[in-house]
Amino acid sequence: MTDKPPSNTGSPTSPGKPPARKRARRSQGFLGVVLGDVRHFSAGRTLAVARLAVKEALRLKVLGVVLLGFAAIVLADLTTRRFDPVFDTAPSMIRIAELVIMIVGLVLAVFLSTFSLPREMASRTIYSLVTKPVSRLEIVLGKAAGVVVVLAIVTFGLGVLSWGYFQWRGRQVQQLAAARCQQMQKASESASLPTDAPPAGLEAIADHGPFRAARYVMPSDPLAIVTFPPQTPARPLKARERRGLEWLTGAPDHTAHWGFENLPLDEIDFGKARIVLSVVPPATQRDGQTPEDMLPEGHRDVLVRLHFEGLYVRPDWSVALTLGADGRLEVPIPARGAPDAPGYGGGRFWVSMCGAETPRLGVGDTSCTILLSGGDAVRSASGLILTTTSSPGRYWIAGPLLAGRYRFRDILPHRIGPDGSVLQVRVGVPGASSIPPEARARVMVVDETSGARRDVTFRPEKRGPAVIPLSRDDFGGGTLAVYVKSDHPALEVSVADESVQLELAPVGDAARAFATNWLKDLTMMWLAACVLAGIGVLASTWAGWQVAALLTAVLFIVANAWTAIISNVERYGVSLSGRTVRGAAGQQVAVFMYRVVFGLLGILLPNFDRMDYGDVVARGVSAPVGGLLAVPEGALWYALVYVGATVVLGYLSFSAREVAR
């Protein structure tokens, strides 16, 4: 029994206070809580939470992953093909180590970031945490910081162990290269075996090990003979604009190529569409001559090849055909749709032709056209390119209209030393016992990345190459195109594949430079893992760890696929249900919509390409020492902003939910 009647009030509320609901709205609003968290943010408390997260990971024996990863690197290297110092541009062990470190980092990023917070919720340790004066902002930030630190420990720990292994293996490779140099030298001295001098690369490895800076660079593209200056017309050339003829020699490796891009699919009648080839006989028609006289039978055989790069890639089609007496040839474009038949389905399309026993067939920009429906709708190629796929001897460049083009692609700025890069050009004058005094060769150096151009004229020499110094203004990295031609209207010059070589200035101590690059590479892999961890933290603020981990992993895959998807759409157009969207306007709208949707996704999804530095290291190139933080493309800032954004979103998400049920 009690002496007091039951009451629903413990104690009277103080008079004069505002109504409860009003006070609740004023004091406990979400925005108010967020502002309060920001205003009273403490780095010390955040650090305490981060230390706890690190300790948790370490007690979960995450560091064991470092040892396991290192064991995997050593095992993979020892059981796969050994590094060949002559032919490999980079030791395979570096690629293996990169792969292992990247996989370990990404998997750990997913696991650690999505595990910590949900585990706190499941084990209810969060009760003890949030009842301390630590805000949700400090909790989420501290957790993310802890994961970032653990990822750094693992990534750089594995990196340092790998570095030690590289040093050990590097010494082995040096000894191997030195031994091979010695063998070749002995063989040469004894003259018992015909042998060449040791390749420069082998000597360099013997001197500097596998972490040397590459110096001599061969062109990435084979020698191409192009009209000079090279030009891609924006519209089909009119007859009067037709440029001079180029001459096919009739050799099978001397080929004329015409490229066509984005033909209107809705205008192509596949039953009637024709490729029309029209070549010029070796002599100009004179009065009284018939076409038979101009292009006699037996000299009309050509090899035609169609190559499709479009969305619907079919096998290349290659066939020997015979030109008409007038030098014309019509080739039908096969109907699209048969599984194994070649056909055009959008994108780029090449027509290639070479003579077969037919000397000097004249070809020009407009020698190849396409009749879209067999009638008036004519499309011309974007321009003629002549190539020799191999140059066992020399190729002769006659007159001012042709040039030999050499391209050096993907030269990274880090590969170029501060001073002393040169271009070595060796040209000859065919058939002359001595170089005529009036002979002149002209070299045009085009930095295709910056657009800088430079012309150099020199007199060909029998004895050695012309050495053209290149400053960093002439070429600062990217793609370098070098055009070589005769600068005399009546004299030919001869060039070959090896006529042009690029000698990049050394960048300094190769081993030290490699160390810098390796550290940069590790930094980039760590940043990529951090970005993924940011996503994981965000997901873990509202989902259980299984769902959060799955989402994070899927997002990683989508983000990587995104670049490939948008690139394909840009290149090949849009296909819906296996059918290409018809009409130029429809195609444009479809591509635009893709750009909008994928553009938005591009903002939301992480761009891991920005944090890819493996190529630099894998090629064995060096970097300026001291530029450790100069990771390309602002990857550091990108990662910082991305992780920051995901953590802020994670905080808002975590703030909006109750931690107890």
Partner: protein, 288 residues
């Protein structure tokens, strides 16, 4: 001490919802409660009555569906209130990979304790909850339930809180530990702190609480001073030592002559707790 209530709720309603936001359980139905500073307040009720929900709302672990909750004058969701409160959950939800010392250091850092101050405070608390030197270094996953409760209590007191919320504080403790906790609670009251405790062990609550509230199905059924609530005013109890059997008969006769009914004369019984403490040498044998 200021005049702000340690905790107060106004028309507090909490309805648990499912994933789609549909109401599932009404845990609290318009609770009005005020806990004054300096008192020991007991929260009683059967399972599912809303005791733990009330504590979680006070701590900001849950958001009220309606109504207002203030702790030490601040909204319950304001983390700054946590500087002055200590909380011992019904089970010790602590990081099992940390040792006892590391646990207290971690929570101490959250309150801005550093260096010697932190180490001194950690040492004091470990002494207070009687964890020996070996136990302090062991990971919590190796702790017994009683040891976990002790370290849980120590972390709740790391900041020398003004307001301590204890959810089932004596669960898992042996009678000596229980007595120590109850003594500690009384000591905290003597130091001017406020204690809110919820417990199924009514004897514990009765022993230490100044006021209690009884919740049934989310509604406050009873609230007031423990002594007042338990006092049976129409029955007189008389206790004395060294009384012979004849004196007892005289007293019984006297009471009957004066019109008293339902007269019972018997020897008092000591509680089992008192007996245990006496046997184990922790407390002299004294009947209650």
């Amino acid at each position: 001490m200021d005049h702000v209530a340690a905790a107060e709720t106004h028309d507090l309603v909490k309805i648990y919802t499912d994933f789609w936001g549909r109401p599932r359980v009404r845990a609290l139905a318009g609770l009005n409660l005020t806990i004054n500073q300096g008192e020991i307040f007991g929260l009683l009720g059967p399972n599912g009555s809303g005791k733990t929900t009330t504590i979680k709302l006070l701590l900001g672990l849950l958001r009220p569906t309606r109504g207002d909750v203030r702790v030490l004058g601040r909204p319950a969701l304001d983390v700054r209130k946590n500087r002055d409160i200590g909380y011992l959950p019904e089970e010790s939800y602590l990081y099992r990979f940390l040792s006892g010392e590391e646990t207290l250091r971690f929570y101490g850092r959250l309150f801005g304790l550093r260096g010697r101050d932190l180490e001194r405070r950690v040492g004091e608390l470990l002494d207070l909850v009687r964890l020996d030197r070996r136990a302090r270094k062991r990971a919590l996953k190796e702790y017994s339930k009683g040891m976990s409760r002790r370290i849980g209590l120590a972390q709740a007191l790391i900041n020398n809180p003004r307001f301590v919320l204890l959810d089932e504080p004596t669960t898992g403790l042996d009678p000596i530990g229980t007595r120590e906790i109850k003594d500690l609670i009384l000591e905290m009251k003597a130091q001017g702190r406020t204690v809110l405790m919820s417990s199924h062990l009514l004897a514990d609550v009765e022993d230490v609480c100044d006021r209690i509230a009884i919740l049934v199905r989310g509604e406050l059924k009873e609230c007031g001073n423990v002594r007042d609530l338990l006092l049976v005013r129409d029955i007189l109890q008389l206790r004395a030592r060294n009384v012979g059997a004849d004196v007892g008969r005289d007293v019984e006769k006297l009471l009957a002559d004066r019109g008293a009914t339902d007269i019972q004369l018997s020897h008092p019984r000591m509680t089992l707790e008192s007996l245990f403490l006496h046997v184990t040498g922790d407390e002299p044998q004294t009947p209650k």
